[in-house]
């Protein structure tokens, strides 16, 4: 066996094994590119959010959160510490005693009374790794004047919208799907076509008049104005209908023999049996509602107490364009829940959408 064959062998029995060819190499190259393009920016944002304000403002592009050590010097207050390399190669920790010039006045930490005049090029910042927890804690706890990001209010609003909308969506879509899949009645085709028609109406072309409708119902500016208009989804109805068609009618007839009411049949038999489709719809609905942006922006922007996490973060980013360290930390905070959900349910989500989400 030649060396090349040995190195490029892939697993499998002798007749089924393929050699590791150029196509595999290109595929792995593509995946590497994917890591670079997809995971790197997210990881970079996370790492940046751990850096202190000074490192963020100075656009420090090192990976780890390095911060300059500070030390208290008698009569000078707290000052950043520099490492001075003397001509003979020894190093000392110093702080600057005057403005930075080509020849800078410094004093050593262990001998604060002697002022040394050293070339600027021999000074290097004395740095160590420091995680800037204040990026997270200040806006969340409202410290240091950062009381504009009411994190817990936003989180509560977001959770309320997501949970309520998902529950309502699941219930009424399942009801409609049950009616369309298990009953024969006049107008079934009409209702089906009407629901297909809503699939073809993009939400952004009815923005203006939806605003009028929601306003005249008196739910404009409240969370219900976000929850109710999006509660009925054509996608959900069809997904559930396709699934419920596979439930045998005999089950329903048996329950009718036992004098169960139609509603009891629905929630005692049909709902538990369509749990796989319901969970796919639940996941989809959570993603939609949690990430919803344009409509909440219109409905909720005027009242900060009603902001969801996304709207609050937008307002916060717009208001403090320069406070990147807070913006990054809050971005990570709103990224974490959905990431955890994803890591937890990842296989389920991807297979669920791939198999049922489309049809």
């Amino acid at each position: 066996m030649g060396v090349a064959t040995f190195l490029t062998r892939t697993k499998g029995t002798a007749d089924r094994a393929r050699r590791f060819g150029i196509a595999d190499l290109l595929a792995y190259g593509y995946l590497l590119l994917g890591v670079l393009v997809i995971l790197m920016p997210v990881a970079w944002t996370f790492l940046s959010s751990l850096k202190g304000e000074r490192a963020i403002d100075g656009f420090d592009t090192r990976l780890l959160p390095m911060a300059q050590v500070e030390a208290e010097v008698e009569g000078q207050g707290v000052k950043p510490v520099w490492t001075w390399t003397a001509p003979d190669g020894t190093t000392r920790d110093v702080v600057k005693a005057g403005p930075t010039r080509r020849e800078t006045d410094v004093v050593a930490l262990d001998d604060p009374d002697t002022v040394l005049r050293v070339p600027r090029t021999t000074l290097a910042p004395n740095e160590r790794i420091r995680v800037a927890t204040e990026n997270y804690l200040d806006p969340i706890l409202g410290r240091n004047g950062q009381d504009n990001f009411a994190f817990f209010t936003y989180l509560l609003n977001s959770v309320f919208v997501t949970v309520m909308a998902t529950l309502i969506t699941l219930l009424i879509n399942a009801m409609a799907a049950f009616a369309l899949s298990k009953y024969k009645f006049r107008g079934r085709l009409t209702f089906t076509i009407l629901i297909i028609a809503t699939l073809l109406i993009p939400s952004s072309i009815i923005l203006v008049s939806l605003f009028f409708v929601v306003w005249s119902f008196g739910i404009f500016g409240s969370l219900w104005g976000v929850i109710i208009p999006a509660a009925a989804t054509p996608t959900g109805v069809f997904l559930l209908r396709q699934y419920m068609l596979t439930i045998p009618d005999e089950l329903l007839d048996a329950a009718r023999m036992d004098a169960a009411s139609e509603w009891r049949i629905f929630w005692r038999i049909v709902l538990p049996l369509s749990l796989p489709a319901l969970s796919v719809l639940a996941i989809l609905s959570v993603i939609w509602r949690w990430n919803d942006f344009l409509w909440p922006l219109i409905v909720l922007i005027s009242d900060p107490a009603q902001h969801t996490l996304q709207i609050g973060l937008t307002a916060f980013s717009g208001e403090f364009d320069s406070d990147f360290h807070y913006i990054l930390a809050m971005t990570v905070v709103s990224l974490v829940p959905i990431t955890l959900v994803f890591v937890w349910l990842q296989r389920f989500i991807t297979t669920g959408i791939a198999t049922t989400g489309l049809k």
Partner: protein
């Protein structure tokens, strides 16, 4: 309004409780069951009143009510609003202005140049042309990248589940998070500029080494010979690598400059694509094309001064999202949109790919079919219906682009990335004097354009499904 809602709720809960308790005894452990029964009281009522035939209507009622009020009614109301003016939000207060809103939009000297329009027309047509340009670029890019990714993760590779999840992950992120991440990466002093500057400096340093020119020439010559030899045997993947090398060498050697022409940068890729295409469809001149391309590239390689090619001046950091007249803001918009939506379409295509029966490939392998031919004759035709669905979905989706633009560039620089939905949003909901009529007229016109596109798509889909 709220009085009616409260009264209805009281009637439902109070009356329903009495009704349920009168008919059946509930153990205190059955509180959840009682709650579900309580929700279903109207359905039960419908069954009691109209028999089983009334039940489906009662079941459909809440869904259809919401569709009716919040989708169909606004759809029709849109036309009404588009014919009214003023800033009042009371529908009855709005004065009827006829087609004035449409007139303002169509008040142009030449329709192809928004600058010659009235102010409203300028905003609308700028947004419309930008959106059309965006859709024209975005949809093919999205479909090709999604198909490519689906093909890669459908291969027998290590850690398949992880890769699929990774490509899907951005779909889960909210637009604000995506915008903040990319704002941070694309900042003038951000990670991208730092990485570009760093690699340019590294290459310049390497190019300064003695003998760099010779080493790189030899490496390229060997690589060209190996890849062209493999490409001659008809391997598409090797042909693609060869094409890439050929395009690079062609661009560096800049042969058109000898006869005083520019554009070598574009001619190289075009020729390379031609060669790859010839190999892909197993054209009878494919071997001839590869051979001649390799001879040309070896000749060109002798003229390339590699230490000049890889010596960069100091790379100036680019303000990616803000610099006007560079095309970069538009490029990054396409990129970020693709980044955040590609995973969804990839999953749909993946489902389509996995529905292709494996024995087709085995039969093809028995007949000694090359992978490229199998792709064009088996994979592509069979995945075409799914690809059409992806095409329709991505078209409707990218037509409505708003979040990414609004958060990343705000429509700027100038009006370079100003999209139609942003026009509608800003006309109606920002600014001191909201122009609801104007925005509604814009929405109606946008609906017309989307409808035209959808019908074209449906027509194409119908043609596709006949295969």
């Amino acid at each position: 309004m709220s009085v009616v809602v409260l009264a209805l709720a009281a009637l439902w809960i109070g009356g329903g409780t009495l009704w349920l308790l009168a008919r059946r005894r509930y153990h205190w452990r059955e509180v959840p069951a009682f709650a579900m029964d309580l929700i279903g009281v109207p359905v039960d009522l419908a069954q009691r009143l109209f028999g089983r035939g009334g039940v489906p209507y009662a079941l459909l009622l809440p869904n259809m009510l919401i569709f009716g009020i919040f989708t169909f009614a606004p759809m029709i109301l849109n036309f009404h609003v588009s014919f009214t003016g003023g800033a009042s939000i009371h529908l009855l207060d709005r004065p009827w202005v006829g087609a004035a809103n449409y007139g303002a939009i169509f008040d142009c000297e030449t329709y192809l140049s928004p600058r010659t329009c009235s102010n409203e027309g300028y905003d609308f047509w700028t947004g419309m042309f930008n959106t059309l340009a965006f859709v024209a670029v975005q949809v093919p890019v999205l479909c090709i990248v999604a198909l490519l990714t689906a093909l890669v993760v459908n291969r027998n590779i290590v850690g398949r589940g992880f890769w699929r999840a990774m490509f899907f992950y951005p779909v889960m992120l909210s637009p604000v998070v995506i915008a903040n991440i990319w704002n941070w990466v694309l900042h003038r002093k951000g990670a991208l500029n730092a990485a570009l500057g760093g690699s340019a400096e590294g290459l310049t340093a390497m190019a300064g080494l003695a003998g760099f020119d010779m080493v790189v020439s030899v490496v390229f010559a060997v690589a060209l010979m190996v890849t062209s030899e493999r490409a001659l045997r008809g391997s598409l993947a090797w042909a693609a690598v060869f094409g890439l090398l050929f395009a690079c060498v062609f661009a560096w050697a800049n042969p058109l400059a000898m006869i005083g022409l520019g554009g070598s940068f574009w001619v190289g890729p075009v020729l390379a694509t031609g060669v790859v295409w010839a190999v892909a469809i197993a054209h009878r001149r494919a071997r001839w094309a590869v051979a001649s391309a390799s001879v040309v590239s070896i000749l060109l390689l002798l003229t390339v001064q590699f230490d000049a090619v890889f010596a960069f001046d100091r790379v100036r950091p680019v303000n990616w999202l803000v610099t006007p007249n560079t095309g970069w803001p538009f490029f990054w918009l396409v990129f970020v949109f693709c980044w955040s939506h590609m995973g969804f379409y990839m999953l749909i295509l993946l489902a389509g790919l996995q529905a292709i029966p494996r024995d087709l490939y085995e039969a093809a392998k028995m007949d000694g079919t090359k992978p490229a031919r199998a792709f064009f004759r088996i994979t592509l035709p069979l995945v075409m219906p799914t690809l059409t669905v992806v095409l329709v979905l991505s078209l409707i989706r990218s037509f409505q682009i708003f979040d990414e633009v609004w958060l990343l560039t705000g429509g700027g620089p100038g009006r370079e990335t100003f999209m139609i939905v942003q026009h509608i949003y800003e006309t109606a909901f920002t600014g001191d004097r909201p122009e609801y009529g104007e925005a509604a007229a814009g929405s109606v016109l946008m609906a017309v354009v989307i409808a035209v596109f959808t019908f074209v798509q449906l027509f194409v889909t119908r043609r596709q499904s006949e295969f």
